[in-house]
Amino acid sequence: MNGKLLSSFILRPLRADPARTALTALAVALGVGVVVAIDLAGAAAAGSFQSSLETLLGRTDFEITANGGVNEVWIGRLAALDRNARYAPFIESRIVIDGVGTVALYGVDLFAQEKVSFQGPAAPSDPDHAAVVSSALAARVGLAEGSRIAAFQVAAVVPAKDVEFLLLDIAAAQKALGTYGRLDRIDVTLSPGENAEHVEREMRALLPPSYTIAKSGTRGEETRKMLRAFRWNLRVLSFISLVVGAFLIYNTISVSVVRRRPEIGVLRALGAGRQLVLWLFLSEALMFGLVGSIAGLGLGRVLAEGVTGLIALSVNALYTSSRPAAIGLSWETAAMGLIAGTFVSLLSALAPAREAMRVEPVEAMGRGAHEHAARIRWRRDLAWGGVLAAAAVSCSFAGPVDGKPFFGYLAALLSIGAAAMCAPALVLAVTGLSRAAVRRCFGAEGMLASRSLAASLSRTSVVVGALATGIAMMASVGIMVGSFRETVLVWLDSQLRADLYIRPLGRSGAGQFPPLAPALPGLVAEVNGVEAVDVFHGLEIRYRGERATLGAGETEIVRRFGRLRFLDGDRDAILRSLQGADRALVSEPFSNKHHVRVGDAITIPLGDREASFTVAGIYYEYSSERGFVILDRATLLKYLPDQPPTNLAVYLRPGADPATVSAAIQTRAADQMIAIARNASLRRDAVVIFDRTFAITYALEAVAILIAILGAANSLLALVLDRRRELGLLRFLGASPRQIMRMIVLEAGFLGVLANLLGAALGFALSFLLIYVVNKQSFGWTIQFHPPLGLLAAALTLVFCATVAAGVYPARAASRLRPIEAIREE
């Protein structure tokens, strides 16, 4: 292509109009920035799978695990296989140390570790009290070899700057945790040359069928798999800004085509081919795409810093405990950002560039004629809108693909397209119907504003479409989160019926169940004012290759005091049927994820047995996507007699004061590290976590809205520039500068109202998709529809005000035009 032509025909106009050029590039940069930031932060928040501990312990080949723990006798039996392999015990938990806080605790065969060098005389002589600490912990607490931490003496400090942990010998760890004879895992390391397949087959034959043998590293893989839907949803959400940005590019290129129709006509008359014209305008878009995307990469890297913490929070609350890894701008992410930004820019420029291509050489048509064409097309657009809407509806009935709500998102995209296609008809309808009222309320300025919007129909429609998309995203996510919040509140109320909840002290994330002392329930039950104690055992299990939570409680107490809500069936009868029987409850997400219905049998490996349970009921559950299986406590203990309790729910006698009873329990269990939470504070905490989890979605919406508002400002500015002559004329006819300003601000207001109307309608449609299709398919839970109307009204008003504010700069520019100069331009 001719570089000179490009520079004079495309670059010069861009330079001549720096505000609009900058706004468009900024929109692309923001869109790409958000996509890049979410991608980087998502990867970082998913956690570093190769922890420094793993580095320290070295490579292993297999991991042997079992629901409810691995019996340590198997180490000896495996060693008897006579293979060149090492079988290392592993325990993983957390303990709370006075003055130090929660620390990860690992039990390993401490003195077999090659990479730990023990210095000082004390350590190996007393394995029960020797501890190895990570340098991070040592630095924070001020430990050195020989110093004491809790009941242990530091035998070595190992380099690990990013994690705090305490490494004990296996027996010491079992003693500290009260889990004698049990391991969390056996790590199998083969000597070089040993045949992995043979070893695996022999171990399989030896170990109980309920034990799992997995290649090492599958845990990280599992976590990634578990987070897949979550990250995918987040990523889709992040693309919204880019979609809104696409409207802006479309708008900018359209304006540039419309303005230069006569010039294009001249170019064509001088012998330029259609392809050249097409490429000229595509290269304009390419320029915006490239410049914006490159700026977006930098922006994304910066934004990622802020976003990672937020996402990590959701991951911890909903999935698994992880710690964010370092953020790195990988080549893949950078390429993805660049390609996405450039591709979206080119795609959105395609229609206007084709329009330019079709300009005939003789054509010197003005805008009027072009807009006339747009006016005629509104019927066709409306028909297309209907077609797209119908397609969206049919997509919403399709099931998930590979666990992802692919068709749900397709339906959302189609709905956005449908709304955009309806925009011209809406603009004409609203400006037409409000004619008299607008003239009465806003006089000449109102009349002129409304007419000029209807006159530049295609441009108005694009702005309304972009703003409406932003608003709809905000509204739909707002409705979804609001409904979810209300649903969770109602659910919390049915779920949390006890007065006090007791768990081990310290932090723990999803999937972690530190034990309570077995004697504790008895102690608590004797405290004055306690009516009943529900002893709960939680443990992480594997079910069909996916992690889930197995819980067991006193179903009789739940029946008497609780209000557990079931999808179907009589609560009382379901809970009664559970007692002591091989029957189980499953949570709604579990039921959806594994396609389990009431009456089905589920087989869960427990200890060294395969236990089979009949599903008695499916209950509503929103705390975690991983899924729950609930047994009666007696049933669990039948299979895992040593399983320690992990939580207690304490019901008080009528009239008993929770604070007093709580204090009494603390005194009784003074030597135990327990945390007692009152019902109200637990609910409050749950809501706080919920709100923090969704903070990120609000941030994403804010960016989408911001881009849409940039679009409105951009478009109004173009409108002002194109109507200079008309604005000058109005001054001749007696309009004051203030009236000109008012007129442009009113146009902005009109855009805001139109966009709010379309956006709210689209928003409700999208919220249905989010709640009943996307959420259901991604997470498996049913959210009840509770639109937060007050919040929505406030948000829409805010967007409206922002749109009006976006009109202020163009309005000032318009009011400052010098009328005699403006009118001279013909």
């Binding site: 004329l729 001054r731 001749f732 005699i820 009118i823």
Partner: protein, 220 residues
Amino acid sequence: MKVELRNVSKKYETVEALRGVSLACEGGTVTALLGRSGCGKTTLLNLAGAMDVPDSGEVLIDGESTASLTEMQLTVLRRKRIGFVFQFFQLLPTLTVLENVELPLLLAGGRGTEGRARERLAWVGLDEKARAMPHQLSGGQMQRVAIARALVHAPDLVIADEPTGNLDTASGERIMELLADSARKFGAAVLIATHSAEAAAVADVRVRMRDGRIEAVDPS
């Protein structure tokens, strides 16, 4: 109503568009400005219509200098006392014919203005086109609408810049008659810039300009 230019000069960058021009227009008279392209007619009209202020000299409207008025006072002056007609009609394409005529009244914040607009439209003979859009009219009809618009608020001063420049002779004559009528019937001071001698024939006073100066005034 009296508009008076006293020794007025105006310079655009390097071009001296007006050099010491003095001229007075009275209510009820039609004054025609003649001269070749670039001699300063439009510049003079803009000054007389208070759309611009001179670099030196004064423009007095009923004895008051336009340079001493604020932006708002100038706007009020235009709303109440001045009407403009342009060579390229300058109708707003998005408004109906009637709304175009009504516009100055609406911008001035008037209510119940439709009647007066219809009256003026009838006066230029286009009452049956009230609901039409401008692009459905011929050039001559558009200019008649523009005249109805310029006169809708009964201004004391009507300024027309080459109102017949884009019209055939017959339509041009009709336009000049209407402008002359507005001076004779409504007592406005009418100031017209034109290239056409036929058009100038209607005027009471003909002012010949050259290179920013007044060359001759007829009758003097």
